[in-house]
Symmetry: C2
Subunit: 523 residues, 2 copies
């Protein structure tokens, strides 16, 4: 009767209540708050040297024998050719580029292994690379959902709400980018409102637009207003998240955007979005090899434009239902693949973006959180440095969920504790805690307990750990319902960080002028 | 717009439907079915050598300076004393035993690093230790719950249902023990009905009673009827799961039970149930050191009774809410502790039982599955060999949930895929898959895809990966509701494995005689 061996739940505070009162608000965990995480645990290295070399050799072979197709960007083709790529023109505006083994790795040697992205509040400036880990909200969903209203298209009001929710969580470090698509704003103007929302309602670092080169330029220009032109020229203050067009294509909008960010000395993420079986091999070793090939090719462009420009190696690995053809997320194979991506990134010596809180569930239920945890664990254990999709991901990325957002934030907090690791020293080994009262005696009142109770154990703001009876008296609500209450409370209590009124006015003025300069476009 | 880069969900079966039809029933994953898992991934080793040595030294110091209190079992005290322990009598029937550093490790050298537990169906015989991993259902809840009836005390009918659910899942390998307490059967007789249910409704290996030495003997005697006396004398066919009385106590019922199993050459698990802050230090390094000390002391008794008897080193690490004093499960610190337990077990060279699908949630909701996944990942990544609590755990182990049981089984299936790891060879590297059609072309019809679609990717029986619209048309049900339907379907379709009628009669006869020989006792 395993359970009966558990001591009757004691009340820690009965004994020495005055000393044993943890901070009043659940989930504070003040000792764990950091602008970004510095990992205290080793990475989980899945594959041995031989297997890694085979993957790298396959990536090299893909690049040398199949090549990467570049579309509609002769300037990018020129840069790659000058660096040594063999270029074949397939059609007007389509070129196949082949790279000798090792060539892209050589180019990537000028990329920083770690860099700083500045936030307008210096206390929120993040480090990306090495043993630093940064959590950012999910990115790119056309829909939003909550338990009250179900699923609907995202709006700029949703976008602002989600920026506020992110800013309010101590467990995210970065405001992300397209937290949801603000579909009520014209396609050619929404980047202005999105970047403004990040600047106005958050004081953390963020991502800019990548959907067109001029929108990338607008995003960077708005940073010049916020940070000052001189500062932007010399520091990374914004990044763009660029997808390859898998398999093995870089389209011209992407490469032009990458060139814009790199030319300005700003950061860029180089992401193959690999739906296994559809745009990459069904076998994970093959997906990872392709991911390495594509991301290296994309990253290298930054160094051809401006050596030293910050670039992030990336991979979004997913799987597929082989009965319906639907994409699946939060499954075991991509989790393993993400661990390998970590190993490959360290061998490249470039920061990594990988995985996140992935799920295909349509509700913030058991499936959602099980899949999320498996995926998120792979990101943090694999050593990912920038983890987009850390909060809100549901419905195979088609929907951003308000409830899941706060559930994921709470999980991200728990991961702060996990990544801190276990301290092993005279004090934490706690010999005296056992020696003080000896065998058979509880440890509630020991000096060791009194010294550690303020910082021991992650304190969730959302999980229910109460006795069944208490939970039942309180209405038997599940974690999704608690999350529903929580996001509303957070929005009710939200206060915008101060922003210099002159800068705010200049930003609004820039946006107004830009919007007035063009007709609305909805595609 | 990360999401828009995802290809329009294609239907794999449209192309070559005749070839591309995966096995009809979701969740089959025939290629992953095994009687136990042989891990294909490395363990996740959290601490370095120096930290591990410090933990071991602290365990040695606890054993040498504070000691272990043994209660009400002079025979156990005699065995420890003869092996070299220093014994001090504290009171009638209470002795403090102190062990010189290294003494218990020396005794444990005769314990097998890996052993076989036989099932009545030889195809289900399991290996415990080394790179083998065995999943068993949760153990010891007084309550059961399901979405229809809520929480109530467990009965023998529930117990039988849960044995049937376990037997029906290909992703558990072992029938476990007290899947729930059958509280409608007298305390002194319920072990007979529980052992019978495991023998009758499952053909897998199982655990016997440990609540009194005579019940341990009954459990073993029933195995002699099932397997034959000669077989039982020479093979492990049953195990007992023994808790230390933390901190640092071994009570006489426990030690007498351990002696009974060991004397019969049967297996035993030696589990400190450490609620941090209550019965172990609040700091995880200290809890792990104590766990090592207690489990070594308990394990060693088996070798003093019968050198070579199978013994399992174990740890149940938990945390505490420092605002309410309630136990918390599925939290980050114990997950890290479990990884360290794996390292310590390998240094001891004894199989490990650790962690499981822990949660404090009162429903099979997001909290439940998030906590479960974090805890379960630590078990499998840490290299635990026997993972009790792999299915059904809710409510801080007070309740066994029918829905969570099947949700956890599905997760256990996904972990079969995870533990298989990534194969890296010419075929899985998939160069030809990309080369066949080249850049920009989908891979659905490639030879590589056709060769792998039957075994690629874990296929969940429970998760919903369908498009939102399909899910919506089907009633928008969440994973807990799907699980509710699923466990009912499984029970409806359950067929008991064949059992020799003569053996069945002999078992029933033994039980009838035993029950008739004593009055009912309810404590």
């Amino acid at each position: 009767m395993e359970q009966t061996a558990m001591p009757t739940p004691p009340r820690a505070r009965r004994r020495g209540r005055s000393q044993m009162t943890r901070s009043a608000e659940p989930g504070q965990n003040l000792h764990l708050r950091v602008p970004y995480i510095t990992r205290g645990v080793p990475t989980y290295d899945l594959l041995n040297e031989e297997a890694l070399i085979r993957i790298e050799a396959t990536a090299d072979r893909i690049l040398a024998e199949i090549g990467i197709e570049v579309r509609e960007d002769p300037e990018a083709v020129r840069l790659y050719r000058e660096a040594g790529a063999t270029v074949t023109e397939n059609a007007t505006d389509r070129w196949t580029l082949k790279f000798e083994p090792g060539m892209l790795r050589e180019i990537l040697k000028t990329a920083p292994s770690r860099f700083t992205q500045h936030a307008r509040n210096p206390a929120n400036t993040v480090e990306i690379g090495g043993d630093a880990t940064v959590f950012a909200p999910s990115y790119g969903s056309p829909f939003v959902m909550d338990l009250d209203s179900g699923r609907r298209y995202g709006t700029i009001a949703d976008f602002e709400n989600l920026v506020k929710l992110a800013q309010s969580s101590p467990w995210l470090h970065h405001s992300g980018g397209t937290i949801c698509e603000p579909t009520d704003v014209p396609v050619n103007k929404r980047h202005l409102d999105m970047v403004y929302a990040h600047m106005r309602y958050s004081d953390r670092a963020f991502l800019g637009s990548i959907t067109a080169p001029e929108r990338a330029e607008d995003s960077i220009e708005m940073c010049r207003i916020l940070f000052g032109s001189g500062f932007v020229d010399e520091h990374c203050v914004i990044m763009g998240n660029f997808n390859t067009t898998s398999p093995l294509v870089l389209d011209g909008v992407t490469t032009a955007g990458i060139r814009a960010y790199a030319a300005a000395g700003q950061g860029s993420i180089h992401l193959p979005f690999l739906l296994g079986g559809a745009v990459s091999p069904l076998t994970m070793a093959g997906s990872v090899a392709q991911c390495l090939a594509e991301s290296m090719a994309s990253c290298a462009l930054t160094q051809l434009v401006r050596p030293g420009a910050p670039a992030i190696f990336a991979g979004f690995l997913s799987s597929m239902s082989l009965r319906s053809g639907s994409p699946t997320f939060g499954t075991p194979e991509p989790a393993l693949g993400s661990l390998v991506m970590g190993q490959l990134a360290r061998r490249l010596n470039i920061p990594l973006r990988c995985a996140g809180n992935f799920s295909t569930s349509k509700l913030p239920d058991g499936q959602a959180m099980q899949q999320s945890m498996m995926s998120m664990m792979s990101a943090i254990q694999g050593g990912a440095n920038y983890i987009l999709h850390s909060a809100g991901f549901l419905d195979g990325l088609l929907s951003m969920s308000y409830e899941k957002f706060v559930m994921d934030c709470d999980m991200a907090g728990a991961l702060h504790s996990y990544l801190k690791g276990i301290e092993v020293n005279y004090d934490t080994l706690g010999f005296e805690a056992l020696a003080q009262n000896g065998p058979g005696e509880h440890l509630f009142g020991t000096d060791h307990t009194l010294r550690h109770y303020q910082t021991a154990y992650w304190d969730s703001a959302l999980n229910d750990d109460q006795p069944f009876e208490t939970w039942s008296e309180q209405g038997e609500i599940d974690s999704a319902q608690r999350a529903n209450q929580r996001w509303k409370n957070i929005l009710n209590n939200y206060e915008a960080p101060a922003l210099d009124p002159g800068i705010d006015e200049a930003l609004r003025d820039f946006i107004d002028r830009k919007k007035a300069s063009m007709e609305d476009a909805w595609y």
